[in-house]
Structures are given as C-alpha cells and as structure tokens.
C-alpha cells in the first residue's frame, strides 16, 4: 500500500468541489469568500503534489517551481481577501446587509 499522486489529486478535487458548493450555495457574502479560499487551497495542494511526484517537470536545477507558484497564489489570495472584505464592509455600510440575494442593484 502506498500513497501516490492520484490520492493527493483526489483529495484536492474533493476540497475544490466542496469549495464550489459553498461559493455558489451560500447567501452570506463572507461565506462565499470562505468557499473561494477553500478552492484556492485545493489548487495549492495539487500544485505541491505535482511538484513532488510528477516526472514531467523534472527540471534538474529548478525542482521547486511548484512551490514558487504556491507562494504567488498565497499572495494573490491575501490581496483578494482584503479587497473582498473591504467591499463587503462597504456594502454593509450602504445597505445594512451582506445578503447576496438582496444585493441586486445591478439587476436590469
């Protein structure tokens, strides 16, 4: 019995699926943000597992490209969380709700 790439990718896919469900089904804007963070996290997991297991990326002097990519994903996720939460505070201040079903200003 051994743990290989398929196992890690399966876990990554499960996390991504749960993240999509949360991001689409939840009514609160902050819960939707949590789902998006879960999806980014699942992608990080698959980056690292490919970086470790895959022979397709066996660059001799740069074995850590996947790790560098994950560092950038972390950066973008942090920036995105800060701006999204600032937007939700702003919407709350104008409308006293962060309920996505009731934020329909842009509806035609």
């Amino acid at each position: 019995m051994t743990v290989d790439l398929a196992h890690y990718l399966t876990v990554s896919g499960l996390l991504f699926g749960v993240g999509i469900s949360i991001a689409l089904a939840k009514r609160n804007a902050i819960a939707v943000l949590m789902g998006i963070e879960l999806m980014l996290n699942a992608v990080n997991l698959s980056f690292l597992s490919f970086s470790r297991f895959s022979g397709a990326f066996a660059i001799k002097d740069n074995p850590l490209d996947g790790h560098v990519f994950v560092v950038f994903v972390l950066t973008v996720a942090a920036a995105e969380a800060a701006v999204a939460l600032a937007l939700s505070v702003l919407i709350y201040r104008r409308r006293e709700t962060v309920d996505l079903d009731r934020i329909n200003l842009l509806r035609w």
Binding site: S12, G13, V18, L24, N28, P63, V70, V76, S88, Y92
Partner: protein, 171 residues
C-alpha cells in the same frame, strides 16, 4: 511513499481537511464555519508537510490559518446587523450538483490517468530537508519579475482597501 507514518498521516489529514470543509458548509453560525475553515487549512498544511513543502506549510498556517480568519472575524464583527446566519441561498441545488460533478470528475481523472510519476530513487531526490533557501533563490532569480509584480499587487490591494472603506468627510 511507502512509509507507514506517511500513509497514516495522509489519510488522517485528508479526512480532517475534507471534513472541515464540509463543516464549513453545514455550520449554522458564520463564526463556527470560520473555525471549521481554519481546521481544514491546518490539516492541509499538514498535507503540505507530507509533500516535503515545509516553507509552504508554515506560510499556509501564517496566512490562511492566521491572517485571513482575523480579517474575516473583523468583517463579521463590523457588520452586526447583517447577522451571522450561514444559510443557503437560491442556488443550493445547482451549487451542490456542480460541486459534486467537479469532485467526481477530478477524482475519476486522477485515478484513471497514467501519470508520468517518479518513484524509488528519483522520488527520494525530492525529499528536501528544507525548501526555504531554494524558494528564496528562485524568487529573486528566475521569477524576480513576477515577484515585483506581486509586491505592486499587494500595494494596490492595501491602498484599495483603505480607500474603499474610508469615511468620506467632504460629502
């Protein structure tokens, strides 16, 4: 990886990570959902450790399990009238269906495809004692342009967040 410790750690951490994610979905209170989210992130950091990614695991704990939950708690506490109900919206059934479809598809592809996988001695070459130095070298060497762009992105996000929530005194 054949070592028994790695196998036990993988299954335990995966169960905690996926269970925590499902807990985020099922929790009725937003703060409880956040606690489940942190649990899931910490378990994922453990999975990163089993993949020999020590720097990424620590960065994950610092950023995902430390900084972002603090931001989310601030956002929840600053919106007291909005309520902490973690209820479902209009798209519950399509959301669940799409999530299940994506999970099943990825799992099927992951199991079905013959990956070009390393094994034995080649795989053991990737048992890094530490990765922080090599990642730092890559960041200021080969990926220095992306590194600079990331710093500009962080600055823009910082200024944008401040400008967005600033109280406008003029009007």
């Amino acid at each position: 990886m054949e070592s028994l410790g790695i196998i036990v750690a993988f299954y335990l951490l995966s169960a905690i990570a996926v269970g925590g994610a499902i807990g985020v979905f099922l929790a009725s209170d937003l703060i409880r959902a956040l606690a489940f989210l942190v649990l899931s992130f910490i378990a994922t950091a453990g999975l990163f450790l089993t993949l020999s990614g020590d720097f990424i695991a620590i960065a994950q704990i610092l950023i995902y399990a430390g900084a972002i939950p603090v931001l989310i708690v601030f956002a929840v506490m600053l919106a007291p009238l909005a309520g902490r109900n973690n209820g479902n919206g209009l798209y519950l059934v399509p959301g669940l269906a799409l999530g299940a479809a994506v999970a099943v598809t990825v799992a099927f592809v992951a199991v079905d495809v013959e990956w070009n996988e390393l094994s034995g001695a080649l795989l053991a070459e990737r048992d890094f004692a530490t990765t922080a130095g090599a990642i730092g070298d890559a960041l200021v060497g080969r990926y220095v342009l992306a590194f600079e762009i990331a710093s500009v992105l962080l600055l823009a996000a910082l200024i944008g967040a401040i400008v967005l929530v600033r109280e406008d005194e003029a009007t």
